[in-house]
Amino acid sequence: MLFIALFLLIFLIVPVVNVIFVAFQDVTTSQFTLVNFKDFFSTALFRESFWNSLYVGVMTVLIASIFSMPLAYFTSRFEFKGAVIVQSLGIIPLIMPPFVGAVSMMMLFGRNGSINLLLERWFGINIPLMEGLNGVIFVESLHYFPFILINLSAALQNIDKSMEESAQNLGCSGFRLFRRIVLPLAMPGYMAGASLVFLKVFDDLGTPLLLNVNNMLAPQAYLRIASIGIKDPMGYVISVILVVISLSAMWMAMKSLKGKDYATVQKGGGGLAKRRMRSWEKVMAWSIILLIMTLVLAPHFGLTLLSFGSIWSYSILPDAFTFDHFVAIFTETPEFMTNTILYSFLAGSIDIVLGTAIAYIALRTKLIGRKVLDYVAMSAVAIPGLVIGIGYLRTFFAFRVPWLENQPLATWWIVIVIALSIRRLPYALRACTAALQQVSVSLEESAENLGAGKFSTIRKIVVPLMVGGILAGFVTSFATAAVELGMTLMLVSKSADGPLSYGIYVYMQSAAGRGPGAALGIAAVIVVGLCTMISYIVVDRRQKKYGMRETN
């Protein structure tokens, strides 16, 4: 407990608090001051960035909702063969980090992209889909809409038929029924998903950076620190604003769910009443699904083209195809891949050890401060990677590591691993907590009753029963750590220490590097995709094997 608390204190709380401190400090006198914030809001560029970030966040939520609602509705309301496709639509976008897809979306939908070239040739029009903020919104909403889709579908599926039937029995039907019963019951789920999307988009650094949209908050913070240095207060001010807005979004998500466990499914029941679709409804449903699917698969398609294309510029398709880019990434910069595997593996391992321990402490012991521990560990969700990166630089730059020729601690690769593990700890912790919640306390009590001490019980009963969840947590941490960009950009001090995401970013900077960059992107997609698949299989098999039931 003490060790975990110390770990969180040093590597999460101190850096973040440090960032906040600096934001309120006068650069020269170190006195408390609000002058930095005044500077921020009196600079036109920053004001514009602030509003742009808010605008992009809100618009992304709106567009993502437009994508999700019909999909969620089809699967929960109708006997629909496309349900499997909708489910996969809920996963496919997530396995490609948005910044990876950004460049390929540019190639397809940009001003000189394939679609606009075709449109210009046939109709003489050009749709500015990828111009400026539009591009960010488009790419982000395609990537993040699954969060809303998953939450909304779950909420709808948790509404019992009897809720609807009793309303009908009392004379309510049609749209009125939907508005008065179904919608309010599904609202908490939707709000949770929506705030999560807003938070993610608001904090995202990679996508705007790769689309060359710099007049947003996260890119501004990065550019200030990267160009002026870690002494410049503006980066910290922006960090504070990012943290405050993220925390409020998370608070909203929690508030919308708190005390509103609307899961009303009764024993043997399940979900809203489903009916078959009429044929015109089927046609409509399928067209909507196909349209969304095309959009969702576009970045993957574009990335594949880009990675195999030799030259692709001002043309609908690449001129020729080649394996050169894949050869290049394996021969010239294999360190990107080996680093990624090493970092993510270590970060994932740290996460499941901490996650299991914190989950056990929070759920099974009565130690003072266990709730705080849990909250602090989870709060890393709301701290943008960029902010953690800046905080680490600020906090650990002063420490010199004696066994590394007295280099600053912040530039050591182990620090990247720790930062990754802190940032992904919430994922692992959530998986471990869920796994432990499924283990009924009486299973432990019966072991103790038969003579097993606490330690023996944990080793022989608790951990074996949690193993699926722990593994799923590891895989999630591993996969998401592999494609973390914002923080890595801040912390990688030399190219040889860079992981995949860093490599992709560096390659994508030049037109010539797009091919190898895309090839790296494909590698990242494969890593994340495989991991996601493994985690699904593991969890699924475990539940079938033990016939696990939810227990309280």
Partner: protein, 371 residues
């Protein structure tokens, strides 16, 4: 089958003594000064409605709760401060709590492995325990692959195999269907007799408690209301709660008054009943109730008989329920409703509503309790 491995209870004292147990969760007082002595080898039941504290009490004996005040003894040894794994008290959980990642055999072997017993000894005992509950064939299945009744027996085998001093059963039959429940409670009783194991059985079902137990403690609101054999509790309930909780009861509320040499019961409904033969406790003067079981009420439509050993009440039938072996009449007596059971015989025509009847109750079948 012979199980020489199971010789318990008789050799050493394994009675359970609770002294002044009080326990509260936050501001909720769950147990309020429980004193209790359970004899070695006794089958004892904690009976009460849900939320009465009976499960907390059994968990306290197992060591999963700790009391703010009071002590728990097993035999002569105080165990209040021992952790669960040092108590040698076997508990069968309501949910059975079988470990889903282990086979039946592994589940049963667990407790012995924790005692670091030699492998061949473990195997021998596990086989004996599984044989005892007739589950040797299913030893290599996982818990999810066997039925609820079988799971119940595995849980039982897993507990008795460690030869506990005391066996605790927490509503062990509540997850079984009605038929199986009747069969399992017989088996439980037989097993307990065979092992002569001190057993505490928690239940809210009076029939379960009555059919299995030597003695019952009726618990309500964190307090033991009465302890006694099932029949004692039924025939001589100590208070209104026990009378009401066990079986169906008529209460006639009123007060006792002396008039000359006799004592009369003045019911609140206006009826005056002479009570001369009934043993009276002077504490029952002001507010009290007569307790009359429906089956002790005789219905008569014929002419009035005055008998010294019977109380007579006049009433009118206002409703009836057919229960199979009996017909339960609802009879209006001075605007009070009394239940009276009449045995049903094949072909018998029940009395019609509105029929005027005389109700007779033997004086020695009437009990007085506090109102």
């Amino acid at each position: 089958m012979t199980n020489t491995a199971y010789k318990n209870g008789n050799d050493s004292d394994s009675g359970v003594t609770l002294q002044g147990i009080s326990l509260s969760f936050g501001k909720t007082h769950v147990l309020k000064g429980i004193d209790l002595k359970i004899e070695s080898g006794e089958f004892f039941a904690f009976l009460g409605p849900s939320g009465c504290g009976k499960t907390t009490l059994i968990r306290l004996i197992a060591g999963f709760e700790s009391a703010q005040a009071g002590q728990v003894f097993i035999g002569e040894q105080e165990v209040s401060h021992l952790p669960p794994w040092r108590r040698n008290v076997g508990m069968v959980f309501q949910s059975y709590a079988l470990w889903p990642h282990m086979t039946v055999r592994k589940n049963v072997a667990f407790g012995l492995e924790e005692k670091h017993m030699p492998r061949n000894e473990i195997n021998k005992r596990v086989d004996a325990a599984l044989d005892l509950v007739d589950l040797l064939d299913l030893a290599d299945r996982r818990p999810s692959q066997i039925s609820g009744g079988q799971q119940q027996r595995v849980a039982l085998a897993r507990t008795v195999v460690i030869e506990p001093q005391v066996l605790l059963l927490d509503e062990p039959l509540s997850n079984l269907d009605a038929k199986l429940r009747v069969q399992m409670r017989r088996e439980l009783r037989q097993l307990q007799q065979k092992l002569s194991l001190t057993t505490i059985f928690v239940t809210h079902d009076q029939e379960e408690a009555n059919t299995t137990s030597d003695r019952i403690a009726v618990i309500n609101d964190g307090i033991i209301q009465q302890i006694g054999s099932p029949m004692d509790l039924y025939d001589q309930p100590a208070n209104r709660f026990v009378a009401d909780f066990l079986g169906t009861t008529n209460f006639i509320d009123g007060r006792l008054k002396e008039s000359g040499n006799t004592i009369q019961f003045h019911a609140d409904n206006g009826e005056v009943i002479p009570m001369h033969d009934i043993l009276l406790d002077s504490s029952y003067r002001d507010h009290c109730s007569l307790v009359v079981r429906p089956q002790n009420v005789t219905i008569n439509t014929d002419t009035e008989i005055e008998a010294a050993d019977k109380i007579r009440l006049k009433g009118t039938i206002i409703g009836k329920e057919f229960l199979g072996s009996t017909i339960r009449y609802r009879v209006n007596v001075q605007n009070d409703v009394l239940l009276a059971d009449d045995t049903h015989h094949h072909g018998q025509v029940p009395l019609k509503n509105g029929t005027a009847v005389n109700l007779y109750v033997k004086r020695n079948q009437v009990i007085i309790v506090d109102a």
